[in-house]
Symmetry: C2
Subunit: 208 residues, 2 copies
DNA sequence: GCGCGGATATGACATTTGTCATGTCACAAA
DNA sequence: TTTGTGACATGACAAATGTCATATCCGCGC
């Protein structure tokens, strides 16, 4: 397997080369230390996988990756990071990177490269554990816990759609005053002041 | 590396054993064909990694996984699937599975196991490519396209926090009437009726 | 039967909200 | 200089909103 290593810390780059080549199954065809070099070396070597530091002086690994993927959409990019910067994870994923692992995890790098070459995606443990929070959690809101009745829930949803009391009354075949009472009751239970806060509450707490 | 294979298709299980043991680095300590067996065998063998089909008769691989993780939180579970069922991916991730790959990808399974044993997470290509959609898209809302000025944007955000006109005025050092004018202007531009609809708009269109 | 609580309703009331017309001020373009 | 033009403000007004006290009806437990 032919790879290219990009890291602006020469020492790290060399250590990586040593470790990886010691496996006998990996050849480091070239090394670079900047985003610009990454782009050039990818084109020149067309490695099976490119192992790249995500943060470097000048062009970041992500920007370089974007360029590379634009030219070679099936490029396999495996990012290295010192500590998992939440910010980058999502960007890298969206960009189409094949993985994102910790530099410290020397032993894990070779297997990760192999898995990536086989078309899989690899993520360090601390990284993947952050994904769940990033995805919509279906943590269903517990109406009962807040003493919200079924009817009140219904009213809340309609308020959260932007309907006026009159419209809600029409929709549910109730008197407008009744709807007001429900809204008032809800505001009281949830310690809110007005229907707008109720809508905000709905989007931030209930449906979040 | 010691693993346990769970698949309700005996043929698949045996094929896996053959392929994996051929690498010389993997030992299949036991095989099972149901969720219940998975739980029992995990306890009995304490394998480095457990390779498990995600859909089986009776208890699904996910349920079994939950039980196993409850008893052994650091268990490493690598799921196999025939075709990527979107539904399961998220659940598996949230549950704490270490990976999710396609059965068809025979060659990839061994490297995936190694990576998982090193503490990484592995996902088949078709799987990871679905993640981006599942995560919040940062499609930034184009204020300019709707003729929303900077100040108006600020007002909108405060309304969307549930503040009253008076509170917004205080926050921004403006007259209350001025704030009303801004709100009124916003409602006009966005064809809305009241501040509640503005908040709803904010959560559904701008910040969605 | 009696009383009680919940769902529904009404009316009165104060407040907030949205609209509009109008005014001031600064600053830039003509 | 004059003339916009945009940011900020005021006041008046009508409509919507939130609160509260109160009333009716209905079913349920005793």
């Amino acid at each position: 397997m032919k790879i290219v290593v990009i890291d602006d810390d020469k020492l790290v780059a060399i250590s990586l080369k040593t470790i990886l080549e010691a496996t006998g199954r990996i050849t480091v065809a070239a090394m670079g230390s900047s985003g610009a070099e990454a782009i050039r070396l990818y084109e020149a070597e067309k490695p099976d996988v490119m192992l790249m530091d995500i943060r470097m002086d000048g062009m970041t690994g992500l920007e370089a990756g974007e360029q590379i993927l634009k030219a070679s959409p099936d490029a396999k990019l495996l990012y290295l990071t010192t500590f998992s910067d939440d910010e980058y994870i999502v960007k890298a994923l969206r960009m189409g990177a094949k993985g994102y692992i910790l530099k410290q995890d020397f032993e894990g790098i070779a297997p990760a490269l192999e898995a990536v070459m086989r078309g899989q995606s690899v993520f360090g443990e601390t990284i993947i554990s952050r994904l769940p929070e990033m995805m919509k959690q279906p943590e269903t809101y517990d109406y009962a816990a807040h003493g919200i009745s079924e009817k009140e829930r219904e009213i809340m949803e309609l308020v959260a759609e932007g309907l006026s009391n009159k419209e809600i009354a029409a929709r549910l075949c109730l008197g407008e005053g009744t709807v007001r009472n429900y809204v008032s009751e809800l505001l009281d239970k949830l310690s809110l002041r007005d229907r707008t806060q109720l809508a905000v509450y709905y989007y931030t707490e209930v449906k979040a």
